[in-house]
């Protein structure tokens, strides 16, 4: 052990004291619920049959992981996540470029572009639902007398549309911050070096703003994987459009099955952790707030 001066010790103690309140709050609102759900997931615990509560080990996990409904929901969730994040990235990048290059009415354009993100998701989801309703919906009528929310493919499309509509501005905002990191001189140098606009974008801009793109993708992927509100309002998970969060809700809240429901939420937690791990370790995304990359 190194000798530590009194001043340093006092500084450390102060540091601990300053961190303590936040740490306590985190333990109360994050660690405790997580540990409690893990504990619940190891039990047979159905509120309809409270007397049959008992410790069953990993039996609930076996039940969920061999269940086709779970895997369908998992597939739907993955599909929605991948498709909507890809579309969001492309559109968000386009929007970010437009906003970055805007010369007139900058503030106004940026504000207007952010409106969808500012609208409460449930409210937006309801307006989408009415728009696609087979009797009153103006969008449904555009496609003839159809009921798109009652068909699996079209319903998934509408869910993705609602997700994309809501989060493209958010994506654009994150990407715009990344664009600001690309020095103007670098793009000028690339044009002098003979790059076409597309080459400037792919060979200079994208690599330089890669950290920002990865952070944006990470945020959005984690968010999209937990999709719930849009599905809840638009289809309630009918026609096999439910996500894993919908399944969890159905078991935990509607079905009152605390054991299986908790198992599902723990599985979602694990999936999200794996996604984050892949992003950070494989793609090298910097953890938010930690600028590890060298300029």
């Amino acid at each position: 052990m190194k000798e530590v001066s009194d001043g340093k010790k006092a500084e450390r103690r102060l540091g601990l004291w300053l961190c303590a309140p936040a740490a306590l709050v985190m333990i109360a609102v994050t660690a405790y619920p997580i540990i409690y759900s893990v504990w619940l997931s190891l039990q047979r615990y159905d509120l309809r049959f409270p007397a049959e509560r008992e410790f069953v080990g990993l039996a609930n996990y076996a039940t969920v992981l061999t269940n086709s409904y779970w895997w369908t929901a998992f597939g739907v969730t993955t599909f929605i996540t991948v498709v909507s994040v890809i579309i969001e990235l492309v559109l968000g990048m386009a929007l970010a470029l437009v906003m970055h290059r805007t010369l007139v009415a900058r503030g106004l354009i940026r504000t207007v572009a952010l409106i969808p993100y500012g609208i409460v998701t449930v409210v937006a989801a309801f307006s989408w639902r009415y728009a696609w309703d087979d009797t009153t919906g103006y969008l449904a009528q555009l496609f003839g007398d159809s009921a798109p929310l009652t068909q699996r493919a079209s319903a998934l499309g509408i869910i993705i549309l609602a997700e994309v509509w809501k989060t493209v501005p958010f994506m654009a905002l994150l990407l715009m911050a990344g664009l600001a990191l690309v020095p103007e001189d670098l793009l000028k140098a690339a044009s002098m070096d003979g790059a076409t606009p597309w080459q400037r974008f792919t060979k200079v801009m994208l690599p330089v703003m890669k950290p920002a793109i990865l952070v944006a993708l990470l945020f959005r992927t984690l968010d999209a994987f937990r999709v719930f509100d849009n599905i809840f309002v638009l289809t309630s998970g009918a026609q096999q459009t439910g996500s894993v969060s919908m399944q969890t809700y159905n078991n935990l809240i509607r079905g009152l099955n605390l054991g299986v429901g908790s198992t599902m939420s723990v599985l979602i937690f694990i999936a999200v952790a794996i996604i984050a791990f892949i992003f950070v370790k494989v793609f090298g995304a910097a953890a938010p707030g930690n600028d590890g990359g060298k300029r």
Binding site: M192, G194, P207, K294
Partner: protein
């Protein structure tokens, strides 16, 4: 290799501001030309117009006789070195230098050969696989040069390429840039705000001010025959001293006393229809400590006596600063120069005269000293428009 011609090239921004106005420069094949001037004089805009990074709103730009106004930068076959170096941070030194060649679909072997060759010339051999982030300022600067030379372009454009280096390295790199240019013989346009760089590097120097070309000429010509107050004050370090003066009876009445006009100056001033009130310009190096000169030399010049305010010894010579009572010379050009150098607020009752004396001088701070100067070396300017009255072609 190419000849670059700027034919009445102008740049007017959409808001009406005129950044560059009717610039006429013919840059010969292989020439090293410097655009110099204070910030906002339009030198960088001019360079960017040659590069194609800014649209030309008036006039014509020709490279090798062909109009290139409408060509994209990539189609002009010109390489540029930026003040910030603009190296691609995600690419290694090798990839940075190879980038323009890869875009031009040059085959791999040729790329490798050219990159290795450039690395050898610029002494970057052992750094080829490092990222720019791990290089020193001087190394980055050389990579930027390397990226320009691998392409063997028609011309190099350099936008203050040495400004981000520390003073010592800057002097070193200045010599290497000059040597490199001579070796490659590529037409080079170099922008700087530093008159020392301009004087030491260029075959010819273009002095700009407020979007207008003031004078184009060899460094020596700019120094000896400045066409106006601005060029006279901008070129030379320390800069020329300016004093108000009155021309009368073949004499020049100045705050330094009456100065006899030499025949040469008198003839030039008459030919230029000099007004009565003029501004006289004297370079610091045309003064000398009178105590060091013999009678004959003293007789050939004029002397004045004043108190030394500050004495700076540079080793090789000494700078003595005098405060001369009386009015200071005023003109728009001089005000601008003063603002540029930040010395606008520093004049306190009277004109300051900077003299460069021989190191052998024993004058000390606070001394009342007699200083000699050569009246044939003085310049006269018209205070109303700044033009020189002593220009001889």
């Amino acid at each position: 290799m190419a000849e670059i011609v700027l034919d009445k090239v102008s740049k007017r921004y959409p808001d009406g501001a005129l950044a560059v106005s009717d610039v006429d420069i013919t840059i010969a094949d292989g020439e090293f030309i410097i655009l110099v001037g204070p910030s906002g004089c339009g030198k960088s805009t001019t360079l960017n117009m040659i590069a194609g990074l800014e649209d030309i709103t008036g006039g014509e730009l020709r490279i090798d006789g062909q109009r290139v106004n409408e060509r994209a930068p990539k189609d002009r076959d010109i390489a540029m070195v930026f003040q910030s170096y603009a190296l691609y941070p995600h690419m290694s030194v090798r990839e940075n230098m190879a980038f323009p060649l890869r875009l031009a679909h040059v085959d791999k072997e040729t790329i490798n050969r050219k990159v290795e060759e450039a690395a050898r010339i610029l002494d970057l051999g052992q750094h080829l696989d490092r990222k720019p982030g791990n290089l020193s300022g001087g190394q980055r600067q050389r990579v930027a040069m390397g990226r320009a030379i691998v392409r063997d372009p028609k011309a190099f454009l350099m936008d203050e390429p040495l400004s981000n280096l520390d003073a010592k390295l800057r002097v070193q790199m200045r010599t290497s840039v000059a040597k490199l240019q001579r070796k490659l013989g590529t037409t080079t346009v170099y922008v700087t705000h530093d008159q020392t760089e301009a004087m030491t590097l260029g075959d010819r120097v273009v002095v700009m001010r407020g979007g207008l070309v003031q004078q184009i000429g060899s460094p020596q010509a700019l120094y000896e025959q400045p066409v106006n107050l601005f060029v006279a004050g901008f070129i030379g370090s320390p800069s020329m001293n300016f004093l108000p003066a009155t021309l009368a009876d073949g004499q020049l009445r100045t705050p330094l006393g009456a100065v006899p006009l030499t025949d040469r100056i008198r003839r030039l001033a008459e030919a230029a229809k000099a007004p009565r009130e003029v501004i006289v310009g004297l370079r610091p190096e045309h003064f000398e400590d009178a105590a060091l000169l013999d009678e004959a030399e003293l007789g050939a010049g004029a002397t004045f006596t004043a108190t030394v305010e500050v004495m700076e010894s540079m080793g090789s010579d000494k700078f003595a600063y005098f405060l001369v009572e009386g009015e200071t010379a005023t003109s728009a050009e001089l005000d601008e120069l003063a603002a540029e150098s930040g010395s606008a607020e520093m004049t306190d009752g009277g004109a300051q005269i900077v003299t460069r004396l021989s190191a052998a001088s024993s004058i000390k701070e606070g001394d009342e000293a007699e200083v000699w100067f050569d009246p044939d070396k003085l310049h006269l300017f018209d205070p109303s428009d700044g033009r020189t009255l002593t220009h001889s072609d």
